[in-house]
């Protein structure tokens, strides 16, 4: 018998520090497999965010740096502009990417930086213990919306792909979810496409991945997947939002 599915080279053989059932692990694997399949491991530089994925440099088997909270797109810009033939991507949570990092995200996208952004939307600040994120759903309880997110106080969950779609520099935007095997395979396809856009020097690509945070949602892993399906996907519809590639 042949081993057909296993950890490929770009993912180190260590235990990741994520909670049981956390979506980050699957997304890490998808990124790693993509990089291996495209044969770009030795020319890739990844940028970990400040968020639960801050330790990504311990998991990926290629060059990785960690940027200040919200600044990965600026750091990526700095890297990519001086090394345009390397593959540069950021991996960011919803707090990182569209709260504190709003300006950096929008402007890297608008400049059409030839980078790839893997955007992990779990509707919550995971690392800091479950506060409201810009993507937290209306009515969702978090430690900073103890009565449920009230749009009158805290505004609306931001649909990042839709927000970015009007910007000239944006080439490819797709929203996926790592809920079940089928969706995970689709997510992989989107991620691979996003890297391909970069390899083809076509500009800014972003994949928004709906991902679970069982811990901060107070759900078990299975319930968390159901939560994505029942609550997140209806508000954050899956699919390609923009494709100029």
């Amino acid at each position: 018998m042949k081993k057909i599915l296993f950890k490929t080279e770009a993912l180190k053989d260590t235990v990741m520090s994520y909670c049981p059932g956390c979506g980050h692990g699957v997304i890490h694997r998808l990124v790693a497999e993509t990089i291996d399949e495209l044969g770009i491991r030795e020319k890739t530089i990844g940028i970990a965010p400040v968020g639960c994925a801050v330790f990504a440099y311990d998991y990926w088997n290629f060059d990785v740096t960690e940027a200040a909270h919200g600044r990965p797109p600026a750091v990526a810009t700095g890297i990519k502009r001086v090394l345009p033939d390397r593959v540069v991507f950021t991996y960011q949570g919803d707090g990182d990417l569209i709260a504190i990092g709003t300006a950096e995200t929008i402007h890297a996208a608008n400049r059409g930086e030839n980078i790839t952004v893997i955007f992990v939307n779990n509707c919550v600040y995971g690392m800091t213990g479950g506060q409201m994120a810009p993507t937290t759903l209306i009515g969702q309880k978090t430690t900073t919306t103890p009565f449920g997110r009230d749009e009158k106080i805290a505004g609306y969950p931001i649909r990042v792909c839709e927000l970015l779609s009007s910007l000239g520099g944006v080439t490819y935007l797709e929203r996926v979810a790592v809920t079940d095997a089928k969706n995970i395979i689709k997510a992989k396809r989107a991620i691979k496409k996003a890297f391909q856009v970069q390899l083809d020097k076509k500009g800014f690509s972003l994949v928004e991945v709906l991902s679970s945070c069982p811990t901060d949602w107070g759900l078990n892993p299975q319930e968390a997947i159901e939560y994505i399906e029942k609550n997140m996907i209806p508000y954050f519809p899956l699919g390609v939002v923009k494709d100029k590639s």
Binding site: R41, E42, K43, T44, I45, I47, A48, V54, F55, Y57, D58, W60, N61, F62, D63, V64, T65, E66, A67, A68, R71, A74, V75, A76, T77, G78, I79, K80, R81, V82, L83, R86, A103, E104, I106, H107, R111
Partner: protein, 349 residues
């Protein structure tokens, strides 16, 4: 004498950076350093290097972070309010031990203040205005030639120590023109190999660059290591002294204030008052020895700054009651005249 060119301070910084092989400039407009950003937008593109006008000062410093971690020489420039915004980024660079050059063309503050030259950001520059106990080298030229020269050294020093270097000037130095010898000899430093950069793991094991140290004791260890580095920087202290040997009183001043003090010294000496000058060129590390040495025979020091008293603390910490330390300063862009300083000298003597 080599051919001299008349040049603005801000532009000299840009040209010096280009000569030092600065590969990437990231900036956001702010008076009084706009001509540098404008100059780089032209020159870097002509030279096929990187110029980005970033969306903010925060983005700019983080772009420097990104460029620097690939081993490329990179810089940003701004003025006081913009530099405040960069403090987190500078702290990250220090934590990650990334080289890079940050120019602060100081203006009057606090807040929006005004656009005159000022020296209100000495503390911020020398004590790490950001969080967490780090230091940056701080260079304070006082002429256009020295700006041109020192920015080249700044890049070397940044690489030598893997540390951000701040160049602290002000609106007056940035805007003034003087002749510059573009072939002027500049000190070259022995630089370690850049064996820590991220540029893809083709020929080596993957690396990471980060400032997070969560294992128990790991951050403390890292910080002690940085501390040793900061102490080592004393090798590269720079300081100008004039007429200290026979002085009854020594002026201590940096940057534009030192220029005024030079005039004041000339004026005072004409009147028969023996005035000397110590001009720290590196503000961090601070030239302790030169000042200490002077205290052997000089018992009066007058620190002159365009602020309410910042460097004077460093002078006092060194002199530690070995001599009298006086202070004369004006905040908010008020530039003292040589006459004011001579008056102050007379008052003290």
């Amino acid at each position: 004498m080599a051919k001299r060119v008349l040049m603005k301070g801000n532009i000299a910084i840009g040209e010096g950076a280009i000569k030092a092989n600065c590969k990437a400039y990231f900036g956001y407009p702010i008076t009084p350093q706009n001509d540098l950003t404008a100059h780089m937008s032209k020159r870097m593109v002509e030279l096929d290097r990187v110029f980005i006008q970033s969306e903010s000062e925060i983005a700019a410093i983080n772009m420097v972070f990104g460029a620097a971690l690939t081993g490329a020489r990179a810089m940003t420039s701004s003025s006081s309010p913009g530099i405040s915004l960069k403090q987190e980024g500078i702290s990250y660079m220090a934590g990650c031990e990334l080289p890079g050059v940050i120019l602060n063309v100081q203006r009057g503050g606090p807040g929006l203040g005004n656009i005159s030259g000022a020296q209100g950001d000495y503390f911020q520059a020398t004590r790490g205005g950001g969080h967490g106990d780090y230091r940056t080298l701080v260079l304070a030229p006082d002429s256009v030639q020295e700006m041109y020269d020192l920015v080249q050294e700044a890049f070397d020093l940044a690489d030598k120590y893997r540390n951000p270097v701040v160049i602290l000037i002000d609106g007056v130095l940035g805007q003034m023109m003087e002749p510059v010898d573009l072939e002027h000899d500049v000190k070259k430093y022995k630089l370690p190999p850049k064996d820590w950069i991220l540029d893809g793991c083709k020929t080596r094991e993957p690396r990471s660059i980060q400032s997070l140290y969560m294992k128990e004791g790991a951050l403390e260890e890292h910080n002690w290591k940085l501390h040793e580095k900061y102490k080592k920087m004393k090798q590269d202290i720079k300081c100008e002294t004039q007429h200290v040997d026979d002085a009854e009183i020594v002026l201590v001043a940096f940057g534009i204030s030192a220029r005024v003090c030079k005039s004041a010294m000339q004026l005072a000496r004409k009147e028969g008052i023996k005035v000397g000058l110590i001009r720290p060129i590196t503000l961090f590390p601070f030239p302790e020895e030169e000042i200490l040495k002077a205290t052997e025979h000089v018992k009066k020091f007058l620190v002159v700054e365009m602020n309410l008293g910042q460097m004077v603390e460093d002078v006092k910490l060194i002199i530690n009651s070995k001599a009298d330390v006086h202070f004369y300063g004006r905040p908010g862009g008020g530039l003292s005249s040589q006459e004011e300083i001579v008056n102050e000298i007379s008052r003290i003597l």
